[in-house]
């Protein structure tokens, strides 16, 4: 008989993971990405997730974002058990609660900076999406680049647009996957300064995946993943 862990009577953490497992089918046989992760993250915390390549960091982020389904275990984010939600419900959940920043920026190339930032606001039904997007870009120092498309922006500027897009809907939780991975050191530092400033200003919970120990050190807590489990 398998003893399944039970949820706490009064969940406090914004992220609550118990015995999370993730196995992915592959041509050469199933690959165990995550092998029993337990993790609590309180609201307002800044958490750095570190670990070597292939340790499961991005997969963990995707599970928390509802972009991936866990093979086993329990996962609650912002009080919501993600397991019973279908794909569209997960999308609505992300819209209401999460902001995500990617290593590869993932801006929509055919839209301007303002339009890119406006997308989640429009999806949420805000009538003043354009104005709010402009204000968000102003806050990241790109008020003069509203009508520029991604191909007309440098890497650092693109990442700042991505930051503005993630913060504009005022999420409760921000997930950042190697946000400086495609940037040079100086640009990366300025982007991270911006990221931490915004987090501090808004009180949002930050989950930061990074290879950089210095970056991880800027977070309130560091979690090390190794071979799909939490090492420290």
């Amino acid at each position: 008989m398998i003893n399944r862990p039970t949820s706490p009577a009064t969940p406090d953490p914004i992220i609550w993971l118990r015995d999370i497992r993730l196995t992915i089918p592959a041509a050469t046989g199933p690959v165990n990405i995550l092998q029993g992760i337990d993790l609590d993250i309180a609201p307002g915390e800044t958490i750095g997730i570190v670990g070597p390549s292939g340790s499961g960091k991005t997969s963990l982020l995707m599970l928390i974002a509802g972009l991936e389904r866990a093979t086993g275990g329990l996962i609650k984010v912002a009080g919501q058990d993600l397991a019973p939600l279908n794909e569209d419900a997960r999308a609505r959940f992300r819209l209401a609660n999460l902001g995500i920043v990617f290593q590869a920026f993932h801006l929509i190339p055919s839209m301007t900076a303002q339009e890119n930032v406006a997308v989640p606001l429009e999806l949420a039904g805000h009538l003043d999406a354009a104005a709010r997007a402009a204000a968000a870009l102003e806050r990241v120092g790109l008020g003069h680049r509203l009508s520029h498309r991604p191909s007309q922006l440098s890497g650092g500027e693109q990442q700042r647009v991505a930051l503005a897009r993630a913060f504009a809907p005022m999420p409760r939780l921000l997930l950042a996957d190697e946000p400086t991975g495609n940037l040079d050191a100086a640009t990366g530092n300025s982007v991270m300064d911006l990221l931490f400033e915004q987090c501090a200003a808004s009180g949002v919970t930050l989950l930061l995946i990074t290879h950089d120990p210095a970056l991880a050190a800027r977070c309130g807590r560091t979690v090390t993943l190794r071979n799909g489990i939490i090492a420290t």
Partner: protein, 841 residues
């Protein structure tokens, strides 16, 4: 360098060939349509040529409307070892014992006819005794459907133009049936002896006398004809040899093929857009390879050779694919077509149309592949360190511009020289280029205007519209591909609809109800009395008529006179000729003046102004004409505008009463009948004057309209090929942007968009593009149709709102369906797998 380029090209091609299937199809469909139409045309023309002796009824045929052939003509051929037969084609009303009557195109046959083949009847063997049957009366064989409609039984006594005959049976097959038309009467056979001396064979009526000649084996046709022309110089007959056995049939086949070939060319041009798109996607995928080659030291020229060779290899494959499909088209199309259009054909391989289609395909491929190839050659090594793709613009190059211009010119020149009507081809090319520029311009205008509209509240609508005006917008391509294909279909549908409306609506309402021919002048009072007794006939118009043949135009013999376009019709056979002291009702003089009522002097003629313009004639020029065997030099006194489409009584040539009023002429009359009383009017006239033939105009228009409808359907089928080509272009466009759509869907899902929202956004994109393409196509297609109807068919154009509405609706619906199906998989792509691929974590 060429050998190196070829080696590198083939090496790269072996590695990856996928992604160009759509390009092959885009080229192949257009080439197949041109090759197929050309092969079918060649098969039909070859079939007609091989059946020419059957169609002629011998090796040679002489025709005249001026009277039976003098016995000397037949004797001359027989003295030279030939077998000869005579026939006469006439029209009259056949009356059954029940009183039912029908217009019949009777072929009166003489002894020995047919010289080739035989007539098969049911009951069998009824043809041999047509001249006199067991009951001592001459017989008649009739078209089986007509016999059924009249309720005839074998042995029934019938009357043809007042001549008593016995119905002997139905015609199952006859050697002259090829290209039979039922427009002006159903087919019947009678013996020529039964009609000899009767008004049915009077030269002034609608009678054609034919003499068929079968030469002895080994005889030289050229020598015999030379001797014949020496013996009978300037004879008032038309001579046809096997090469010219069925000129009207050949003309019909070639005209139909001409229009369909131009539509096939339209399909190929639309496919060219797909070629451009596919080649761009192909080269974009190779952009990093090209940048790497440039880093390693390859010149732009080497790059152009490598990828030029690749495109050549693939282009040739696409063209060959189309040629194979076109070559088998006769096998697939002609047998089922034979039931509706019993034309002779010879199914085989015809290299000429295939070569032409191949050249069109290669030129279109070249014209549309050159621009993206130029851009690919402009990729520098530095592109490896940026997002590699084809540069949006390249520096101007005289060499490239000259090559591109020459390719376009070669394409236009090929279109012009390959069709018998060069100006039509030029007009088509200009129209095609203009259409594409217009569609592209509309797309550019929309992309300028859309961002200036107030942002919609609905996120999906906003996302969908944004996709239309962004830099990667597929709106220009959707407009060109869907719009071009729909424009062709709309133009074809409107032309067909307008012409059918003209034949089924406008023409019948204005036209007379009947043409009555072969009215003897002395019978006119009897004719008028018969009409008056019905109380249902009105608006009677009569004119005298004679048969005439034009021998020379302004001094040039007709054998050496070749007027442009279709204006040579009065020279092909005998034509109707009339005379009048005063201008007939409705006459519109454009130049010159009418002669005095009591004019006595050298004969003058009033001529058709439009034909005169085409022939370069003016008032004062001379037309040499044979009228009932006598030659006249007629000075043109005036030029009239004749509105043939009104179907009112009129003649190409109207002469002075002197000297023609002394010739044995008949009268032709037009009459209108009260609706529903047409049968009474016809019965009254043909009962009173059995030799008078009544042609029911509405019936002829309906039959012609039916034929037009069938032809329109066939042309529309070819038009659909243009739409198919457009669809392939759309498929190629969506395939090319598949990766971009997946990436966008992943980002939108990550940001919180549901699949339904993303799907709605994309459907909005396709619906708006489809709506605008449909509206543009409806407007441009209507304009093209209006131009064609006014300038080519010389009738009025009517706006058809139903065509516009259907086009718009169909475009929106089809584009939405297409959008839904083509993007479904992009929507299903799981975001996690895509994101994991990019981060490796």
């Amino acid at each position: 360098m060429i050998r190196l380029a070829w080696r590198l090209a083939i090496r790269d091609l072996h590695g990856r060939k996928g992604g160009l299937l759509i390009v092959l199809l885009c080229l192949g469909v257009g080439v197949a349509s041109i090759a197929g139409i050309g092969s079918i045309q060649s098969a039909l023309n070859q079939g007609i040529a091989e059946s020419s002796r059957s169609i002629l009824g011998g090796d040679l045929a002489l025709s005249t409307g001026l009277g039976p052939f003098p016995p000397a003509v037949q004797e001359w051929f027989e003295q030279h070892g030939a077998r000869v037969s005579q026939t006469a084609d006439t029209r009259s009303i056949l009356i059954a014992p029940s009183g039912r009557r029908i217009l019949v195109a009777a072929r009166a046959v003489g002894p020995g006819w047919p010289l080739l083949g035989k007539v098969v009847s049911t009951p069998p063997d009824q043809f041999a005794d047509l001249a006199r049957g067991p009951d001592g009366r001459p017989g008649l064989l009739l078209d089986p459907a007509a016999a059924r409609s009249l309720g005839l039984q074998v042995g029934d006594r019938v009357s043809l133009g007042g001549i008593p005959l016995t119905y002997r049976g139905s015609i199952l097959a006859s050697p002259d049936s090829l290209g039979d038309s039922q427009l002006f009467g159903v087919k019947a056979f009678v013996a020529i002896s039964a009609l000899a001396g009767t008004p049915l064979l009077q030269p002034s009526g609608l009678v054609t006398f034919d003499l068929q000649v079968l030469l002895p084996p080994g005889a030289s046709e050229r020598q015999i004809l030379q001797a014949f022309h020496q013996h009978f110089p300037g004879g008032p007959w038309r001579l046809r040899q096997s090469a010219d056995a069925a000129p009207d049939l050949t003309r019909f086949v070639n005209q139909a093929a001409l229009f369909m070939t131009l539509l096939g060319l339209a399909a190929l041009l639309v496919g060219g857009i797909g070629v451009a798109n596919g080649v761009e996607a192909w080269l974009t995928a190779r952009a990093r390879s090209i940048a790497t080659l440039r880093c390693l030291g390859a010149s732009a020229r080497l790059v152009s050779l490598i990828y030029g060779f690749q495109l050549l290899v693939l282009g040739v494959q696409g063209v060959l694919l189309g040629l194979v499909a076109g070559a088998v088209a006769p096998v697939l199309v002609l047998p089922p077509l034979h039931a509706k259009l019993p034309l002779p054909s010879h199914i085989g391989l015809y290299p000429e149309p295939l070569l032409l289609a191949g050249m069109f395909g290669l030129l279109v491929g070249l014209v549309f592949a050159l621009p993206p190839l130029r851009r690919a050659c402009a990729i520098s090594g530095g592109a490896l360190f940026r997002l590699a793709g084809l540069p949006a613009r390249v520096a101007f190059s005289w060499y490239a511009s000259v090559v591109q211009s020459l390719a376009v010119l070669a394409l236009i020149l090929l279109a012009v020289v390959s069709v018998p009507r060069p100006f039509l081809a030029l007009g088509f090319c200009a129209g095609a280029i203009l259409t594409m520029l217009l569609l592209r311009g509309i797309a550019a205008l929309l992309m300028l205007l859309l961002p200036r509209l107030p942002a919609p509240r609905d996120a999906a609508l906003a996302l969908g519209l944004r996709r239309l005006y962004g830099p990667a917008s597929s709106l220009p391509l959707m407009m060109l591909s869907a719009g071009a294909g729909l424009t062709v279909l709309v133009a074809v549908a409107e032309i067909r609809g307008n012409l059918l409306a003209e034949f089924n609506g406008a023409l019948p309402s204005a036209a007379p109800s009947f043409y009555f021919i072969d009215i003897q002048p002395d019978d006119l009072p009897k004719f008028e009395a018969a009409l008056n007794r019905t109380g249902a006939a009105y608006d009677l118009q009569t004119m005298p008529t004679l048969r005439a043949r034009i021998l020379a135009v302004a001094g040039t013999p007709v054998e050496q006179f070749h007027p442009p376009g279709q204006s040579d019709w009065p020279l092909r056979s005998d034509i109707g000729f009339s005379f009048a002291a005063t201008p007939p009702p409705g006459t519109l003089l454009q130049q010159g003046s009418w002669w005095p009522t009591e004019y006595l002097g050298p004969p003058l003629v009033s001529f058709d102004a439009e034909i005169a313009h085409d022939w370069g004639l003016k008032v004062g020029d001379i037309l040499t004409v044979n009228v009932l065997g006598r030659q006249f030099d007629l000075r043109i006194a005036n030029l009239r505008k004749i509105q043939w489409q009104s179907l009112q009584l009129n003649f190409l040539m109207v002469g002075t009463p002197d000297p023609f009023s002394g010739a044995p002429y008949t009268l032709v009359a037009t009459v209108k009948a009260e609706p529903g009383r047409e049968g009474d009017v016809l019965a009254a006239v043909t009962d009173a004057l059995p030799s008078v033939t009544g042609i029911d105009v509405a019936q002829v228009l309906r039959a012609f309209g039916g034929l037009l409808g069938e032809l329109g359907t066939a042309v529309s089928m070819v038009g659909l090929i243009a739409l198919l080509a457009g669809s392939l272009v759309l498929v190629s466009a969506t395939a090319a942007e598949r990766e971009a759509r997946i990436a966008e869907a992943v980002v939108l899902k990550t940001l919180g968009a549901s699949r339904a929202q993303i799907r709605r956004a994309w459907l909005v994109e396709f619906a708006v593009a489809g709506g605008i393409a449909g509206l543009a196509a409806a407007m441009i297609g209507s304009f093209a149709a209006a131009l064609t109807i006014r300038e080519v068919f010389h009738t009025d154009w009517y706006f058809e709102p139903v065509t516009l509405a259907v086009t718009l609706l169909a475009s929106i619906v089809l584009m939405m369906i297409f959008g839904f199906v083509s993007t479904a998989q992009a929507l299903r792509e799981p975001a996690a797998a895509r994101l994991r691929l990019e981060t490796g974590g």
